[in-house]
Amino acid sequence: MTRIRTRQVTVLAPVLAAALLTGCGVLPAMPGPTPTGFVPSEVPAPAPTATGNLSPDGFDAAQRMAVRIRNVGCGSVSTGSGFAVDAQTLITNRHVVAESAELQLSTYDGRDLAATTASTAELADLAIVRTTDELPAVPELADADPAPGDTVSVVGYPQGGRLTVTSGKVIGGTTDPLNENLGEVLVTDAEVEPGSSGSAVLDAQGRVVGVVYAKNSVNQSFIVPVSTLRTMLADTGSFVDAPSCAG
């Protein structure tokens, strides 16, 4: 009998110990150390819900890169548009700077820029104007021409008036009706006016995809595609000094 009891005790003791341990496991733990606070010291930076006009003065990049060009000729004054391609270089049309005695440039906010030289391309209605002052903003050139159906925006000074942004879609490509450009040009339904020549054509990402140079009677606009612009910019010999009416 003693052996039996000993066996029972031998069996019961571990069982009792296990029960105690299990019971301790069920017991709630003491609360941890008191936290110093519930406000985290670092929080993730909130993502902006809208880009807005993130520029020093609230104007977007498309407006800041636009330049108004006044061609003071020999007995005439005409206006056109242009846009910056680097800090001191802007692109416009050849016919905007043609027969000029003086080129006068102004920015979106009315500041005057001094132009030094003008160069024109012989194989496209494009021209380069160098400035002594720094241009407000420089856009990015797109890698490829826009496809038919793509939405584009035109930023310029139609009729030499206020800075205007118009939108439209690319209709397709065609040969140059004015025979001023080598290769194919693009047709869009974006509304342009005289004075819009040299305006930048931007895609949805704000990249330059072309340069306005003409319009037709049904208010379709013709643009020099960015591929042609890139080709011309890559070939330094494609631009020559623009002739002046002043001799």
Partner: protein
């Protein structure tokens, strides 16, 4: 029918079964043939507690199953030892005598030394200790758990109070922050309106400046044109005047032609004609300037 004989010892002091609880459980062997059992207290001078058991003699009759045949002394049963072999009237096994507390024996025949009880009593006591030990352990464990739970509850209560204070403070801060946020949003909306107005005004002013510049250049060119036209007109007028004066003088010379050398008159007429031709050229230039507008 009791077949055995009982040798009583002189009456002595009463013995207690408990007196043997501390004795070793080993049972000393009795001398052969003596049939005597002795407890550990069976020492010289303690014979009063001894008890002799005689072996059954040949020829005696004993009823099997009769308790009285072998029980020389019946001890009271051990408490809490429900062992049938040690119960009241423990059965005899040969010359072994069952243990157990003696029954009420007014004759004072109790002989603890003859019970052979120490091993069973020690085991019984040990068996009795286990519940106590278990209950004691459970009690201590329960008290410990209760204390722990009480401490835990108090700690959580304190934490709850602290957390509630923190929550109220954070709630107040949140309400204040929301109010500030609403104010900031309203201010931003106002600033956006002001910014839009300022942008439109800047654009308008830039356009006005550009238009003024265009007008200035146009006026300057017009001024230049008018100056050129005026200059051309002056040249035309001067040439015409000289032409007219020359023609008048030529007419006067021709009215008195006999008085002048015909060759000189012809030369003068050619000069007048040149003056008038230059006046005509100046007029063409003037008309050309005028045609530019």
């Amino acid at each position: 029918m009791i077949s055995g004989s009982l040798t009583r010892s002189p009456p002595g002091p009463p013995s207690y079964p408990a007196a043997v609880t501390d004795e070793p459980t080993a049972e000393p062997s009795a001398p052969p043939g003596s049939g005597r059992r002795a407890s550990a207290l069976d020492r010289p001078g303690t014979a009063a507690t001894t008890e002799e058991v005689r072996a059954p003699q040949p020829g005696t009759v004993a009823h099997a199953g009769s308790e009285a045949t072998t029980v020389l002394r019946t001890l009271p049963p051990a408490a809490a030892t429900p062992d049938a072999t040690t119960g009241p009237g423990g059965t005899a096994d040969g010359d072994r005598v069952s243990s157990g507390p003696p029954p009420a024996d007014p004759g004072g025949t109790a002989d603890p030394g003859a019970t052979a009880a120490p091993p069973a009593a020690g085991a019984g006591r040990r068996r009795r200790r286990w519940p106590v030990v278990v209950l004691s352990v459970l009690l201590v464990a329960s008290l410990a758990v209760g204390g722990y739970l009480l401490a835990t509850a108090r700690a959580y209560a304190e934490r709850l109070d602290w957390t509630e204070q923190q929550a109220r403070a954070i709630g107040s801060d949140l309400a204040l922050t929301r109010s500030d946020l609403e104010g900031a949003r309203s201010e931003i909306e106002g600033l956006q309106v002001q910014l839009t107005t300022a942008q439109e005004r800047i654009t308008a002013l830039a356009d006005e400046k550009a238009q003024i510049g265009d007008d200035r250049e146009a006026q300057r060119q017009l001024l230049d044109y008018q100056a050129r036209v005026s200059e051309a007109a002056g040249i035309v007028a001067s040439a015409l005047d000289r032409c007219v004066q020359g023609q008048d003088q030529l007419i006067a010379y021709l009215e008195d032609a006999a008085s002048y050398d015909p060759a000189d008159l012809a030369n003068y007429g050619s000069e007048v004609e040149a003056l008038c031709r230059s006046a005509s050229d100046a007029n063409v230039a003037l008309q050309s300037e005028l045609d530019q507008r």
